[in-house]
């Protein structure tokens, strides 16, 4: 007989379970779109349940979930999409629709290699698939494979998506030594485009704002961000980017005003914490505890999708440069956007380990990436490096 004891305390994540005080106590608020009462989703689900294995219904439903997942920045919806596509997920040659959706779901899980593989297969079958070219360009850009990314933007020009093509090209151009030219080009392209979707406009405005902010045209950056936000469309990437801009501009009050209702989203809570740190707010330790718990909860399921943000949290709020550097380095292996470069440089400087960020310096040198911030950090790092060599 095995008799054993539980001495190990429950992890701090688990609070003490309770019985709610009264019947009408609200325990959970669902995202409006998640409610199965939502007519369209329910109708599609019912139709799929009645006709299991019906590909066109499944594709439609999976698309709706992916759109929701993006809008709400909620991985659960991507999971539901994957669930709907289950019968086709592992078959040897899925249809092009399934390939595209699978690539989007894999991309969301940061399985970039598998996503690129699916997109390549799909584009081989169907070279006119604009969404596939675009998604491929985005992933390649994140991987800092700028030449390949550019090649993936070009077909968009032919595919009735001129503004998407311009945005795609300008975004990459701005990272490869042509910031001013790309900026003017995209501004013109946006001005000339009369009819386009709101999502497209927000994307173009966000790219413009980010280029402007990198080359130090802060007022214009602010204008583009504000214009993009005027559409009142939930876009978490935009909120993150604008919050980062405001933090750099030392305008923490605006960050808090913009995000205080949206702190269920972890990356936004991180920005709120950084803003409160600038303000010296008493509430900061409480938010840091919450963030710690959220990172720990992600790690429990064996995932580390957000090492970039975690590195920033560890460096700026926990003040642990060594650990932050490890996270930033691990993040740099899979993602190489300017923000990833920045946290790696900052962590390397704080940890007095300039060698750890050499691949960022190399990238800056080979691409000619224009960013005042990154250049400043790189110079600081080089100084530390020569300082150390001198010793």
């Amino acid at each position: 007989m095995i008799i054993v004891v539980a001495l190990v305390s429950t992890p701090a994540l688990l609070a003490i379970p309770f019985v709610p005080d009264h019947d009408e106590q609200v325990l959970e608020r669902l995202p409006a779109a998640a409610n199965p009462v939502n007519h369209e989703l329910r109708a599609l689900r019912n139709r799929l349940n009645a006709n299991p294995g019906q590909l066109d219904i499944a594709v439609k439903l999976a698309k709706r979930y992916i759109e929701l997942g993006k809008a709400e920045a909620d991985p659960r919806f991507y999971g539901y999409a994957q669930g709907v596509l289950k019968p086709w997920w592992d078959i040897p040659e899925p249809s092009s629709e399934v390939l595209l959706l699978r690539a989007l779901i894999l991309q969301n899980r940061h399985d970039f290699d598998s996503a690129l593989h699916d997109l390549a297969t799909l584009l081989h079958q169907e070279p006119t698939n604009a969404q596939a070219w675009l998604t491929q360009a985005v992933i390649l850009q994140v991987r800092a494979r700028y030449d390949d990314a550019q090649r993936s933007c070009i077909p968009l020009m032919e595919l009735e998506a001129p503004l998407a093509a311009s945005t795609c090209l300008a975004s990459i151009g701005s990272l490869t030594g042509h910031a001013a030219k790309s900026y003017d080009f995209l501004r013109e392209a946006l001005k000339e485009t009369q009819v386009t979707s709101t999502d497209q406009r927000i994307w173009s405005l966000t790219v413009l704002a980010e280029i402007a902010s990198r080359i130090g045209r802060y007022e214009e950056a602010d204008q583009f961000f504000s214009e993009a936000l005027k559409f009142r469309r939930q876009d978490i990437y935009l909120l993150n980017a604008y919050a980062d801009f405001l933090l750099d501009q030392k305008r923490p009050e605006e960050v808090i005003a913009m995000l205080s209702e949206k702190t269920r989203i972890d990356s936004l809570l991180l920005r709120v914490a950084l803003a409160k740190q600038q303000l010296g707010d008493d509430d900061l330790p409480n938010i840091v505890t919450q963030l710690k718990a959220r990172f720990a909860a992600s790690r429990l399921r064996g995932e580390n999708l957000h090492q970039g943000d975690e590195a920033r949290f560890t460096l700026s709020l926990l003040k642990q440069p060594q650990q932050a550097l490890q996270l930033a380095q691990a993040n740099w292996v899979s993602q190489r956007e300017p923000k990833d470069a920045r946290i790696l440089l900052e962590a390397a400087i704080a940890a007095h380990n300039p060698a750890a960020a050499q691949s960022v310096i190399e990238l800056l040198n080979t691409t000619g990436l224009e960013s005042m911030q990154l250049r400043q950090l790189a110079a600081q790092l080089e100084k530390q490096n020569t300082g150390l060599d001198g010793n």
Binding site: I2, V5, L14, R76, Q131, L134, V138, W203, A241, R301
Partner: protein, 374 residues
């Protein structure tokens, strides 16, 4: 046509995954102790709502009433997607309680349950299928606790079976754990500390003509303290052992109330001395009751039957070590201050009054099951 449909669906470029919150998880904990298996399963309300619709009135808010009304449905849904077995034969799962908890990503329904295994062997098998059909990114975070060891696993659609071998625990580890628990208990169990202090406070004084006088030499004081501490130790070791081995058993409410009463009496005896000789007898008598209190703590910790004596010894030694630390901290301090007004008026008299008052509150709380102070 297809192109237009796709363009309508374009997810624009900047939109790489941002750090939102984690995907769906459930937390499944099994505790194996004293030949029994019990469990706790935390499942997100959002996930349950997606699977079996909790939000009955469709207002996007889940109330306790809505959840409560669905407990039967939740139980049958959850436990058709979880199978536990031991020694190749399936175990029966019996829900015992329904609670709620808040995790980092929202509210969870907490199911407490007992697991009845016809043949509990050294191996527990878990087959987990919750939500995998609806959300293949769902993960079951399994935690099995036994013998001071914890086994964790992440259950996924491709790895949904786990066999957990309940390995023999190293006796050294167990010894240290129980030693630590013993020390910890005496340090955090204020009632024991205060009882002991109440007996020790007068040890540096002696009574003459109805007045307290400071003791002259250290040696008799030390002998007196050793007598008190030893008597207390022997007494509580006796009852701790007897209760742990199941020879005697008293309701914990009775024991805890009696412990509070013993503290009151010990403190009052300093103020209105009835007994000022052979204090060690008092220590012995009440020590018997305190031992029963220690036994209840030990019972709550759970006892590995194959290492019963070892754990008993370790826990008891821990208690003694904690006690010794208190005495060695107290005695030099008291002896040094014994001649001062401060010791007799503040430490001794006021201290005894405060201890008696606090213990009186404990007595009320414990005997009447109230909460008066935190």
């Amino acid at each position: 046509m297809l192109l237009r449909a796709l363009l309508g669906f374009i997810l624009y470029g900047c939109c790489l995954a941002v750090f939102a919150h984690k995907a769906s998880d459930s937390y499944l904990t099994l505790k194996v102790s004293a030949g029994k298996v019990s469990g706790q399963w935390d499942i997100a309300l959002r996930d349950l709502d997606f699977a079996i619709s909790l939000d009955t009135n469709g207002d996007n808010a889940i109330t306790w009433k809505e959840l409560h009304n669905k407990h039967e449905a939740i139980t049958s849904y959850a436990f058709t997607h979880l199978h536990i077995s031991s020694g190749e034969s399936p175990c029966q799962i019996k829900p015992t309680q329904y609670l709620v908890d808040n995790h980092t990503d929202g509210a969870y329904s907490v199911l407490l349950f007992d697991v009845d295994c016809p043949r509990l062997s050294t191996e527990i098998g878990i087959n987990y299928m919750l939500f995998f059909d609806l959300d293949p990114q769902h993960r079951g975070l399994l935690r099995v606790e036994y013998g001071g060891a914890t086994h964790t696993a992440v259950l996924s659609p491709t790895q949904n079976n786990q066999k957990i071998v309940l390995a023999q625990v190293k006796s050294g580890t167990v010894f240290l754990q129980y030693l630590h628990e013993g020390i910890w208990h005496i340090w955090t169990g204020y009632d024991h500390i205060l009882f002991l202090l109440s007996l020790l406070l007068p040890a540096v004084l002696y009574r003459q003509a109805a007045r307290w006088k400071p003791a002259i030499r250290f040696r008799p004081v030390l002998i007196e303290v050793i007598k008190i501490v030893t008597a207390f130790t022997i007494a509580h070791s006796i009852t701790l052992s007897l209760a742990t081995l199941g020879v005697i058993s008293l309701p914990s409410r009775w024991v805890e109330s009696a412990i509070a009463a013993s503290v009151i009496l010990a403190a009052l005896n300093n103020l209105y001395p009835l007994i000022n000789r052979n204090i060690w007898l008092v220590a012995f008598g009440f020590g018997l009751i305190h031992g029963l209190g220690f036994a209840n703590v030990l019972k709550d910790l759970g006892l590995p039957q194959n290492m019963l004596l070892l754990t008993l010894l370790a826990f008891n030694l821990g208690v003694e070590l904690g006690q010794l630390a208190i005495v060695t901290g107290f005695l030099p301090f008291a002896f040094w201050l014994r001649k001062t007004q401060c010791y007799r008026k503040v430490v001794f008299t006021l201290g005894s009054v405060l201890i008696a008052m606090l213990a009186f509150i404990w007595l009320l709380e414990r005997s009447l099951n109230l909460t008066l102070i935190d």
